[in-house]
């Protein structure tokens, strides 16, 4: 089964999230909600620091194949 660990939230925030999800479908618990939001935010930050997957030299080689196949 999925493993879990504990993080601390201010009690005021916990209550605020509880109130929010009581009116919203789709989240079973504060933990569910926090996991969802964290994944969304973390993915956004990770995306910002992703390096380019190839060099400009690679690009020229790739372009010549694309030309030969008629894609460009």
């Amino acid at each position: 089964m999925t493993k879990y660990t504990t993080v601390s939230l201010p009690v005021t925030l916990h209550k605020r999230v509880e109130r929010l999800i009581a009116e919203k479908e789709g989240f079973k618990s504060v933990s569910d909600y926090v996991t969802y939001v964290l994944r969304e935010v973390v993915a956004m930050h990770e995306t910002e620091k992703t390096p380019a997957p190839f060099t400009s030299k690679d690009v020229e080689v790739i372009k010549s194949r694309l030309k030969a196949l008629g894609y460009i």
């Binding site: 969304e40 973390v42 390096p51």
Partner: protein, 381 residues
């Protein structure tokens, strides 16, 4: 901007000639012939379609994927990628083996990191939601050995002679291509059939707001009665030539074995297309489903669990021709009853084409039908 590769890095393994020294001098006991389907998986790992995987999964990843649809580093991933081997295949951890195709030609070097067993019933229930052996995916896992090898692919042998090489692009190539076309939003379309008008309307509805369309038919193992790969490609070429504006659409095939895992497979389809650089993927009714194992929109609902997937699903209802609307419509756009809708079952469509009879033009473009009917044998027998 095209999507960033899944997991952050586009995997691009060394590709060498099959005659390379790296594949020579191995004892026969270290050579592992694999099926065509595993061959396609190796190719997809090597070219980055399955990024961030660099090889076959270990036990921890397999477990977290089965339990929570995540790799052990929390990256979304919904179906394990495993190398099943007979228990009579004896190499152990730290051995380097050579994977070969069915004819014995080298495919790749693999350094064994782990050897473990899976519980095939648990696998079936978690991936397919059933352990019914009539389900094709379940049948496949039950017929595979429970012993699996994990490890990184070190070198990949170029595959000469692929009849579809002129319509097969790797993620690095599609990424450059999309950049050349200045596309910022690209919708992927997964298919395993020649195009019906209903598919075309999904694609064109998506195109109405995106810069480009990436049509990515799946080629590979087929069931009896399916359209042959050559026919699917030729039919799409005919559609694009006759009905799409220039510079809005890229056709490239994907060598991949359908798993019929419905919702879990929809996530894998999205991940692969994200690696090609697509920003969106069209997900229709019963996507990647088979029989009645999945609820019609289960493959759309599952996306709610992945706020960090990095590719946006576009959910579509099925299109049909409506006589009253006098055009293509779907249940979200048409108020009329079924009597006004022109629908035709897959079986009936095949019967018509097989008998040399063109289907109604509201179901299939005549140019597409004509390509199919001009093939002496369009179906897998």
């Amino acid at each position: 901007m095209v999507s960033v590769p899944h997991g952050g890095e586009l995997v691009q393994l060394d590709v060498v000639d099959p005659s390379h020294d790296a594949f020579n001098g191995y004892d026969k006991s270290l050579m592992l012939p694999v099926s065509k389907e595993t061959e396609a998986t190796v190719l997809n790992i090597a070219s980055g379609i399955l990024s961030p995987l660099t090889g076959f999964m270990g036990e921890e990843d397999c477990k977290t994927v089965l339990d929570s649809m995540r790799l052990s580093d929390d990256t979304p991933w919904s179906i394990p990628v495993l190398l099943h081997v007979a228990s009579s295949f004896t190499p152990q951890v730290r051995d380097e083996i050579v994977l070969t195709d069915e004819g014995g030609s080298p495919l790749a070097n693999l350094l064994i990191d782990e050897r473990f067993k899976i519980d095939r019933k648990e696998y079936a229930e978690k991936v397919y939601g059933t352990s019914d052996p009539a389900h094709p995916g379940v049948a496949r896992i039950f017929s595979s050995p429970d012993s699996v090898l994990a490890g990184r692919i070190r070198r990949f042998a170029a595959r000469p002679g692929d009849p579809f090489s002129d319509v097969t692009l790797a993620p690095r190539e599609t990424r450059v291509l999309f950049g050349e076309k200045s596309w910022r939003t690209i919708v992927a379309f997964q298919t395993r059939n020649p195009p019906h008008l209903s598919h075309e309307y999904v694609q064109k509805t998506a195109l109405a707001f995106a810069d480009g369309l990436f049509i990515n038919p799946v080629l590979g193992k087929k069931k009896v009665g399916d359209f042959r790969d050559e026919v699917i490609v030729a039919a799409y070429k005919a559609l694009i030539r006759n009905y799409y504006p220039q510079n809005c659409c890229v056709l490239s095939v994907l060598h991949y074995e359908m798993q019929y895992a419905g919702p879990r497979e929809a996530i894998m389809h999205a991940i692969m297309r994200k690696n090609f650089g697509c920003t969106h993927i069209a997900i229709g009714r019963d996507h990647a489903g088979v029989g009645s194992y999945y609820r019609p929109y289960a493959a759309q609902e599952i996306f709610k669990e992945f706020p960090d997937l990095g590719i946006t699903p576009l959910f579509f209802r099925e299109f049909f021709y409506c006589r009253k609307c006098a055009g293509m419509a779907n249940e979200k756009t048409c108020p009329h009853g079924e009597d006004d809708h022109l629908t035709i079952s897959g079986t009936r469509l095949r019967e018509l084409l097989d008998g040399g009879e063109s289907p109604p033009k509201e179901v299939m473009r005549p140019e597409v039908a004509s390509v199919i009917m001009s093939d002496p044998d369009p179906f897998v027998r």
